[in-house]
């Protein structure tokens, strides 16, 4: 179902953005370019290292905080590879322990006793034990499908406009494969074409959903644009993010949101950011 069949109102829109490292990057990402392009009340709850459960729950929780406002709400989530998974932790000793780690606990709200321990493709401490002995790729795919179903249901029930993006072809490739920096499988859908998960994918009607399945990295790979570097792995630079948003995101929102910065300004900004970051 196209979630944007209804035109957004002319009042300032609440825009909630959530994602992982390709959304919360050290350099301007698609999310930053979106915020530069449009006027709106922006709530970016992204954080590097998050898995899809945290990404979606953070977005929904933030949107819920805005529920009493008259403004329209639109939520954009950029999901990530299924082999990056979160643990919800609320034991005080563990919360304190993980607070000292490279990736800390991410709470939905400060008054929550626990939060998500999202560590990307890094499996420290107890996570290594789970990764080595209990991790299931099929379960992880299923979990992401379930989270998408939850996301769609909650957004629809509350009248929130939404868009689901992928940072890479998450149904076809894992982050471990992307880290090799060689090729990008953006067509096979091998991760959902399994007996374990095809039924759920079909029952969610995701094939009909307006989701660009190659994602950011798949788009770049298809179009021979930079998507990988030896220094930063599958985390493309600002110029690559710009090419993606110009083709896959801006056309949808240019008629829905008030444009703040034109393409001349964005061209200059992107070029500068790309130079400052690439060479460091």
């Amino acid at each position: 179902m196209n979630n944007f069949e209804t035109t957004l109102s002319n009042t300032l829109t609440n825009v909630v953005i959530s994602g992982a490292s390709n959304t919360d990057g050290p350099w301007p990402t698609w999310a930053d370019l979106f915020q530069e392009r449009y006027s709106g009340n922006f709530y970016n709850v992204s954080k590097k290292g998050l898995g899809n459960e945290a990404i979606i729950n953070l977005a929904l929780h933030q949107a819920w905080q805005l529920k009493d406002q008259a403004n329209d709400t639109v939520i954009l989530v950029m999901l990530t590879n299924i082999d990056k998974w979160d643990w919800y932790v609320d034991r005080p000793d563990l919360v304190g322990k993980f607070a000292k780690e490279k990736h800390t606990i991410t709470k939905l709200a400060q008054n929550h006793c626990g939060g998500y321990w999202g560590t990307g493709r890094w499996f420290p401490l107890e996570k290594q034990l789970y990764q080595d002995n209990f991790y299931s790729e099929n379960y992880s795919v299923r979990h992401t499908l379930q989270m998408i179903g939850l996301f769609q249901q909650v957004c629809t029930a509350n009248g929130w406009k939404y868009q689901i993006l992928f940072d890479s072809p998450i149904w076809s490739t894992t982050n471990a494969e992307l880290d090799l920096g060689t090729t990008v499988d953006y067509t096979s859908n091998r991760l959902i074409n399994t007996p374990e998960n095809q039924w759920l994918y079909q029952s969610l009607h995701l094939k009909d959903a307006d989701i660009y399945s190659p994602g950011l990295v798949g788009f770049l790979y298809k179009n021979n644009l930079p998507w990988f570097s030896h220094k930063y792995g599958p985390h493309p630079g600002t110029q690559s993010h710009y090419e993606f948003v110009k083709e896959k995101i801006f056309p949808q929102y240019d008629s829905q949101l008030a444009v703040r910065q034109d393409f001349d300004w964005l061209d200059t900004f992107v070029h500068k950011m790309d130079q400052l970051w690439t060479l460091e």
């Binding site: 050290p26 400052l276 970051w277 690439t278 460091e280």
Partner: protein
């Protein structure tokens, strides 16, 4: 090998002696010190301007070989770094955009520097200044045995000869000596040692 041969190293963190911070680990400059008498003036996080100052501060004719690791045009020289002044390794660092941007998340006083980088710094101007500094370095070392190094895509900048790029060896581990893995440090050490030995012979 000839421990009585003097080798000067200038540059940034890709050439600096990291043993002040990680005394049990060895980067390629430390490995070279087993074969030669090393004077290492390289400073972690420094700009090309500081590298030029390093070279000018040395009695270049006292050295049998010189290695210079060049850096980005977009590092801004400062006498006192707002963050790293007391760091054992990065105390001579200059302003690097991504570094300042990261620290600005917890120190709002740095936002003015971020603002300067994003809204006022002209990259073409910095590239031109960088070119002039590189030209000066080239002139200072023109008649001396020197090898130029870089860790980045250098094709748009001043062309030194000879120059080696170790761009593909970068390690994202923050404790990796000279930003290289142990294995890559050894590969680089062997390559540089062979260059020096070939020249000295």
């Amino acid at each position: 090998m000839s421990n009585n041969k003097n080798v000067l190293i200038c540059g940034d963190s890709f050439a600096a002696d990291w043993s002040s911070k990680y005394p049990t680990k060895l980067g390629w400059p430390n490995l070279l010190a087993k074969d030669f008498t090393i004077t290492n003036l390289a400073q972690a996080g420094c700009s090309e301007y500081r590298i030029w100052q390093q070279i000018k501060s040395a009695q270049l004719d006292q050295f049998d070989y010189i290695i210079i690791s060049h850096t980005s045009p977009y590092r801004l020289f400062v006498r006192n770094h707002p963050v790293h002044t007391k760091d054992v390794l990065h105390h001579s660092s200059d302003l690097i955009y991504n570094d300042i941007k990261d620290h600005a998340k917890s120190n709002q006083q740095l936002n003015s520097i971020v603002d300067y980088f994003e809204n006022y710094v002209d990259l073409d101007y910095l590239a031109d200044i960088h070119y002039l500094i590189c030209q000066e370095i080239d002139q200072l070392t023109a008649t001396l045995p020197v090898l130029h190094l870089t860790n980045m895509d250098w094709h748009k900048f001043y062309q030194f000869d000879p120059m080696i790029t170790f761009e593909k060896f970068y390690s994202t581990d923050p404790t990796a000596m000279n930003h290289y893995s142990d294995r890559d440090n050894y590969i680089i050490y062997e390559q540089l040692r062979d260059h020096i030995v070939e020249y000295l012979n």
